[in-house]
């Protein structure tokens, strides 16, 4: 064995606290180390070239690089080994920057520790074996989960790249939250006017299969080879037959509240979400349907000209294969009733921003007329409260929802345009208007439209004499403020979509404590997840506005097209393997594997042993820790590799 050691100065980053020369000297005396040198910036192009040459000239067959975290440059150095003709997995990185030089001041102790880290790396690398990445075929089809603007954009861009896409949406129509908006900031263009053409395009695109009123049941497999079970929920209307004429909805005698209008406004048990719904088909809500509740009625069935109503319909589960998956499941609004002091849910004239948006919309419950829900009167004074369920530790929402400042300004402007005489107050903490033309937009609200911005939190909203008394403080003036309002709009923040964590589990991706899906790297891999082949677009990753969502969705499409451009892809060789001759066949591993990657197989002598399917294995090592006789080993993290690290530390 011939190990080469390269110790990086990283300019001053390492060399100021670690005596790099000393590490090289001491490193040369470590077992099997035949070459050691220090390098200014080991990641630079000339240094990479030098390593390649050293590998060839000194005939090195293992390499240790003491530098920054392996999370930063391990891949870079693997490629260096590969170029030098060495198996890329014969590399070990000692993290002497993030976990040594940057966290210590004492040069002597830092140098001792750096040497420990190098000794561990040398000990471990001597147990490395060449590894070959398994190759798997690729199903050149993509699944997009969620039919909001993120999912629509991603599906269209992927489909344009000539990859078939299945778009799954759990509601009966695509469009998501954007379809509920009246206008979009900061240009005030009509949201429907820019969204509905895209919805129609999805419906007509030859590469897109649309599955509405469907949910993901189960996901198996891995990048290039996902097997997904999709539950098509019983809609009790045959979508193939329904022509969307709406007669059923007109004649349905039931009463329900409109889900699309977020409970504001009437609906029916059989409904088409909104006039531009895609697909434009009716769906029955059994909870509200008179027939389902009392076994009488069936008016819709009788009147349907297309004979599309089918009360016997059952959920159906279909299984499809995909090479890549995009989650674009959006967000859910903060439940304003958590602020009991604001009276949301108790007072009809206190509503959420999105509910108010429905009142502004021509397709909403008031056909775009601004009316108080309680008495239908035109409001004269309207108060907007920002940061309801955002930037509030006490409510478990310490983060900024990124869009509320802007949509509040937009709604204030739209209100002023329709009710020029109205008085509008916005209670805010800070104004976050960082996008292109955003600050200008907020200024317009204040200066051009005369919206009164009051800096301070609202402490209480209560009714008095038919008015909503909004009590708060103006923290700029340092005075208490009280406004008599006719209508209060709470700018509710974003939370994770309902069922996000369940979906995350099915996809084996992670989410933060709020339920937003975690990207692979906050800066450099914003649309990837830690599960290869699963990508993120839009507000399911973090609260974001439409421009950012669309940009991310197009980004995701390029990633998906890239992943599906090859006929075969390499999977990680850092997977587990069973030494079949030693396996005792207890199969405890089989029960714990989260990826169903372990199977029972028989040896020639009839003995039953465990076998790991390398392309299914994700390399977590749970089976290894479960195997008492140590028959399973995990490439890169074998027992002997980890033991050698422990011994290097304690015996050092």
């Amino acid at each position: 064995m011939r190990i080469g050691l390269f110790v990086c100065h990283c300019g001053n980053n390492i060399a100021s606290t670690v005596d790099v020369k000393k590490i090289v000297q001491a490193g040369l005396k470590l077992p099997y180390v035949v070459f050691a040198t220090d390098v200014d910036y080991v990641c630079s192009a000339p240094s990479q070239k030098n390593i390649e040459e050293a590998i060839q000239e000194k005939n090195l067959n293992r390499v240790v690089i003491a530098a920054c975290s392996p999370h930063v440059h391990e891949e870079t150095f693997r490629r260096v080994l590969k170029r030098a003709g060495l198996n890329p997995y014969l590399l070990q990185v000692a993290n002497i920057r993030e976990q040594c030089s940057w966290i210590h001041d004492n040069v002597i102790f830092a140098t001792i520790k750096a040497l420990d880290l190098v000794r561990m790396a040398v000990a471990k690398v001597s147990h490395h074996e060449p590894l070959i990445a398994p190759k798997v075929g690729v199903d050149k089809r993509a699944l997009v989960i969620g039919g909001g603007i993120a999912g629509i954009q991603a599906a269209l861009d992927i489909a344009e790249g000539n990859i078939p896409v299945t778009l799954v949406e759990r509601e009966p129509t695509i469009g998501g939250a954007m379809a509920k908006l009246d206008k979009a900031f900061p240009t005030l263009d009509c949201a429907a006017c820019i969204l509905t053409p895209k919805m129609a395009e999805v419906n007509q695109h030859e590469n897109i299969e649309l599955m509405v009123y469907s949910e993901i049941e189960d996901v198996k497999g891995y990048v290039g080879n996902f097997e997904v079970k999709i539950r098509k929920k019983a809609s009790y209307v045959d979508y193939e037959k329904c022509v969307g004429c709406g007669i059923c909805e007109q004649k349905c005698p039931s009463k329900a509240s409109s889900k699309f209008n977020l409970g504001r406004g009437d609906g029916k048990a059989i409904y088409i979400s909104f006039p531009q719904a895609v697909p434009k088909v009716a769906t029955i809500s059994p909870k509200h349907c008179i027939y389902f509740q009392r076994q009488k009625c069936r008016v819709c069935e009788k009147l349907c000209p297309a004979d599309a109503v089918d009360f016997k319909m059952q959920d159906e589960i279909v299984t499809e294969r995909f090479g890549a998956i995009v989650t674009a499941t959006g967000y859910s609004l903060f439940d304003y009733s958590q602020y009991g002091e604001y009276g949301g849910g108790r007072y009809p004239d206190v509503m959420s921003g999105l509910q108010y948006e429905r009142f502004l919309s021509p397709t909403g419950p008031s056909k775009g007329e601004i009316k108080r829900p309680s008495d239908g009167k035109k409001p004269e004074t309207i108060v907007f409260v920002a940061c309801v369920g955002s930037r509030d530790e006490a409510k478990g929402r310490p983060y900024c929802s990124a869009v509320c400042c802007m949509y509040t300004a937009k709604q204030a402007i739209l209100t002023k345009e329709r009710l020029p005489e109205s008085q509008i107050y916005v209670f805010y903490i800070d104004i976050r208007a960082t996008g292109k033309l955003y600050e200008e937009f907020v200024r317009r609200a204040q200066e051009e439209y005369g919206v009164q911005y009051v800096r301070g939190r609202v402490s209480k909203i209560y009714t008095d004499n038919g008015k909503l008394k909004v009590r708060g403080a103006d923290t700029l003036l340092g005075e208490p403020v009280e406004v008599d309002a006719d209508l209060v709009v709470l700018a509710t923040g974003f939370g994770a979509s309902k069922g996000a964590s369940t979906l995350a589990k099915k996809l084996a991706i992670s989410h933060d404590s709020y339920g937003f899906f975690t990207e692979s790297h906050p800066k450099l891999k914003p649309v990837e997840t830690n599960t290869r082949g699963v990508f993120l677009a839009g507000a399911c990753q973090s609260p974001k506005d439409i421009p950012a969502t669309v940009a991310q969705a197009s980004g995701v499409a390029s990633k998906v097209l890239g992943a599906l451009s090859k006929d075969q892809i390499e999977t990680s060789p850092l997977v587990a393997a069973v030494d079949a001759r030693r396996c005792i066949g207890c199969f405890q591993c089989l029960g714990v594997c989260p990826y169903k990657a372990i199977e029972e197989t028989a040896l020639n002598d009839g003995a039953k042993v465990a076998e790991i399917i390398p392309t299914l294995c994700q390399g977590c090592g749970l089976c290894v820790a479960t195997c008492n006789p140590g028959v399973i080993s995990l490439n890169g993290f074998t027992d002997n590799q980890l033991i050698s690290e422990v011994e290097a530390i304690v015996k050092g």
Partner: protein, 345 residues
């Protein structure tokens, strides 16, 4: 304390033998052989007997020294190259404590229920030869019989007598399952002896663990240092254990993985017994065969009982009771109600 029930013990034991022979003979028609007990090199050391014919069955014995946990043989069915041919069906004579090992092996999926028959036998406690050893030169014992709550020995043609509670195995003094929990045939009648015999000496099964826990941490460290310095690493404890069915693949001796060297240094010995305890956590059924087999009398059961006590406190789980449960360290609960994690904030 003792008295009448103990008298019954002896009579029962003798009656049981005749019944046992009949049951073994009948079982022979269903299996290839039955494992029971025969007289060993002296009266105190019965030895396992492989009964393949009715003639063999005449050599069967059942007395107060039949301690071997015969369930240890069962995992050999699993793998070719084991102790006997994998297609052979086995009959097994099993005491209450041994039956827990059978259940645990079933739970671990290491044996198939169709491949063996259990002849359960109710037990009233066995005499610990190691305890006798401190009192008499056991190599000169000519006969031994339990009478009137005592054991009566003939040593060098002279009678000697010791109270039962002094010489029964500790595990028998805290026995909860004198009748096997699983069997195809039962000798001795279910529960008929349960309220008598060893129950009267009943101790908390973990009293010794609790006693040891009361010692200071350094005292405990020194204790084990000293004990393990005597270990020969002969692996008798492992080889006799019904759950150490990894056998030749045991990581005590492998190079891949290389957990420990063959040095019999105290540190190496300590790690061997510690990892063995970890591997047996929630699996060991506390039959005590490891301790019995140990040539230097290491208190090994203490380790395994500590593990089981912890597992029972944390997960409310006891090994070898219910074949349908999963071993507690191969499952989890999203909320572990008995685990209080350290808070670092």
């Amino acid at each position: 304390m003792a008295g009448k029930p103990i008298e019954m013990r002896n009579k029962k034991t003798k009656e049981q033998l005749e019944n046992l022979k009949t049951q073994v003979e009948e079982t022979l028609s269903q299996v290839d052989f039955v494992i029971g007990y025969a007289k060993g090199y002296d009266v105190l050391h019965p030895t396992p007997l492989f009964v393949r014919s009715t003639k063999d069955a005449q050599a069967l014995i059942w007395d107060d020294f039949c301690i071997n946990n015969l369930a240890t043989y069962l995992p050999s069915q699993k793998r070719p190259g084991g102790l006997f041919h994998p297609h052979e069906k086995i009959g097994l004579v099993v005491k209450g404590c041994d039956s827990r090992a059978v259940i645990q092996l079933l739970q671990e999926g290491i044996i198939d229920r169709e491949n063996f028959k259990i002849i359960g036998i109710s037990c009233q406690g066995k005499v610990d030869v190691k305890k006798l050893k401190n009192r008499v030169p056991i190599e000169r014992v000519e006969s031994a019989e339990i009478k009137e709550g005592s054991i009566e020995l003939t040593v060098d043609s002279r009678g000697q007598k010791y109270p039962l509670e002094e010489v029964l195995y500790s595990k028998c003094l805290s026995c909860e399952y004198p009748t096997p929990l699983i069997y195809d045939r039962l000798v001795g009648g279910e529960g008929s002896l349960r309220s008598k015999g060893p129950k009267e000496f009943a101790q908390d099964p973990y009293h010794d663990v609790e006693e040891f826990e009361k010692k200071g941490v350094n005292e405990r460290l020194d204790f084990w240092e000293q004990e393990f310095s005597r270990c020969l690493r002969c692996y008798a404890c492992r080889d006799i254990c019904p759950f150490c069915y990894c056998q030749f693949e045991c990581i005590a001796q492998t190079r891949i993985p290389h957990w420990l060297s063959q040095k019999t240094a105290s540190k190496e010995n300590k790690f061997f017994h510690m990892f063995r305890a970890m591997h047996l956590a929630g699996r060991c059924t506390e039959c005590g065969e490891c301790e019995r087999a140990c040539p230097v009398d290491l208190p090994l059961l203490l380790l395994h009982k500590k593990m089981n006590k912890k597992v029972s406190e944390l997960f409310g789980y006891r090994s070898g009771i219910n074949p349908k449960l999963r071993p507690p360290l191969t499952i989890f609960q999203p909320e572990e109600k008995n685990i209080e994690e350290e808070r670092w904030e």
